[in-house]
């Protein structure tokens, strides 16, 4: 082991400190949009960290993880709509249901591998998406507004934005910790062994299917929790939560941040979502420098830059941001 003060550890510590101090800054400058943006980032980072558990460490590329986010969200939304606002009912039920779905989908999908696995997880997510679209009672395609956030008697007040942010952050840090513990446990080593050589792990006596399935369920459940938080953040659920491009976004976050580390996807989530917000302004500013006029119209075309950027990252920066931080040490 090298000393604790590697550039990577310093960056992670700085980032955690930044996330903890953010609401104070947001209130000080009166920029509540920042708080809302980062609440979203923190929630999606949680989903990305849990996806990375199976993708980065288990080699199972799930292209349908937004489905679990959607399931978590829909349980909250549907129960709220049916007059059950209590979080004590909503949250456990949401987690249970995401776990059950992950169990069923995982048990079938894990019979395949490679591209077939990518596509079958996508197919299951599409099925769940179309079920949500067909739920006329709960808004169908248009979605459903949640009038009361999950109620926890007098214990927690989720409508307090700052409190809600810290709650999400606490869940994110807990997720990172749990995933880190899993990865470094005997269970996690079996999963990583199965990623490198499934047949060999099997030959030396591990029932790899069961290990992978358990891992898949853990990951799906955490995504379900992210969905519960997301529904409470937006006070709204709709099938768009589980559109296949949302699953793609989660993969992008994990890869952008670096799949080799537990904390990487958090970096990826921050990078992607901040980029989404910042690119339009950067385009405007660049246009101002080049042409002397503020090219407001050009701002909306930020995906024109993001798309090729993803391609370049895939081609030339495989380790993601985390990989760059790690290589700073060697330089």
């Amino acid at each position: 082991m090298t000393g604790p003060l590697t550039p990577r550890n310093v960056a992670v510590a700085a980032l955690v400190a930044f996330l903890i101090l953010l609401p104070i800054y947001a209130h000080a400058v009166g920029n509540l949009f920042l708080l809302s943006l980062f609440t979203r980032i923190v929630i999606l980072a949680m989903a990305a960290v849990s996806l990375n558990l199976i993708m980065g460490f288990g080699g199972m590329v799930s292209f349908g993880h937004a489905a679990y986010v959607g399931i978590g969200g829909y349980v909250v939304g549907i129960l709220a709509h049916e007059g059950v606002p209590s979080g004590f009912v909503q949250w456990p039920l949401a987690l249970l249901l995401s776990a059950l779905f992950a169990l069923g989908i995982g048990a079938l999908s894990l019979r395949t591998r490679g591209v077939y696995f990518i596509m079958i997880t996508l197919a299951f997510a599409q099925m769940i998406y179309y079920v949500a679209v067909a739920l006329d009672r709960y808004g169908g395609d248009d979605g459903l507004t949640i009038y009361r956030r999950s109620q926890f008697a007098a214990l927690l007040d989720l409508s307090n934005k700052t409190f809600f942010y810290y709650l999400c952050l606490a869940f994110l840090l807990a997720t990172v910790y749990v995933v880190w513990r899993i990865v470094n446990s005997r269970f996690g080593l079996v999963i990583q062994g199965a990623r490198s050589n499934d047949r060999r792990m099997h030959a030396i006596g591990f029932a790899t299917f069961r290990y992978k399935l358990a891992c898949f369920v853990v990951s799906g459940t955490i995504c379900g929790l992210a969905g519960v938080l997301e529904a409470n953040r937006t006070d709204f659920i709709s099938p768009a939560m589980m559109h296949w491009t949302r699953s793609g976004d989660l993969i992008v976050m994990a890869v952008l941040g670096g799949m080799g580390s537990v904390f990487g996807p958090v970096l990826g989530a921050i990078a992607l979502l901040v980029l989404e917000e910042a690119l339009p302004f950067l385009i405007g500013a660049a246009g101002h420098v080049v042409t002397g006029r503020d090219l407001v119209a050009a701002r909306e075309y930020w995906q024109l830059i993001l798309g090729p950027m993803l391609l370049l990252i895939v081609l030339y920066a495989r380790g993601g941001i985390d990989g760059l931080l790690a290589s700073l040490r060697r330089a």
């Binding site: 077939y116 990518i118 992008v252 993001l306 990252i313």
Partner: protein, 305 residues
Amino acid sequence: MLLFLEQFLNGLQLGLLLFLLAAGLTLVFGIMDLVNLAHGSLYMLGAYFAATFTGVTGSFLGGVVLALAATLLTGMAIEVVAMRRLYGRDHLDHVLGTFGLILFFNELVRLIWGPAGMNLTLPPWLNTAVQILPGVHYSMYRLSIIIVALAVAALLYLVIMRTRVGMLIRAGASNREMIGALGINIKLLYTFVFGVGAALAGLAGLMQAAILTAQIGMGENILILAFVVIIIGGIGSIRGAFVASIFVGLIDTIGRAFLPDLLKAVLSPAAASTVAPALSSMLIYLIMAVVLVVRPAGLFPATGR
């Protein structure tokens, strides 16, 4: 019975459109081992090119020919600039890189053609109904889609099975390294195959655009269907793609048309009207899941040819 015949033809037409898309996808997948999510963007580009060129030339057929040539060239350009660098990489890299390309092309189309869709107007000789059986009329245009797509499928079959290029393509699908080692210009072959796949996708897109409209993101949903097709058919197998696309097209169309009535016989009307749309959209994914569980490599695995 008449309704069934019409729905059967609609299903056949959807299936054949899917085949045009899936053929390119499965060739690229089988030969270059590349997962190309951006295949749907080529479908979209074909539609926009056709709408533009028919406007410029004033002739439907002229516009179609130009649009096909333009998609072919765009496909080849994409292969040379981007795809070539992705060969031999992890499938995750393909998914991510081509996901980036989708974002890029959607924005590019919005930049060039604007956010509103574009209509592709049919010439009068296509925009009529034709009598297919005594007393039974069917859209001339839909019928011509079926004929064109069947002709393309037959041509594709002949090229792949009876020509030297086709032999190389088949050889590439079974063993990529070997045909490179035998001195075949594999780079050129790859660019050619990708371009042809792009043109086929473009053809599907422009044919669909005359029924619906050319829209941003139009390629994405049908792309997922095309993936379902090649997974059911077995990756790399043209024959599998053909059988599976007809199958998926028919199941999807007929399911949507008849499932509501079928369910009403078993369930209460209220329950049936809730369940039917969900079930009919899910049907093909359900079938794909069953196929994958029973035969994890699809119905017609390419290696067994």
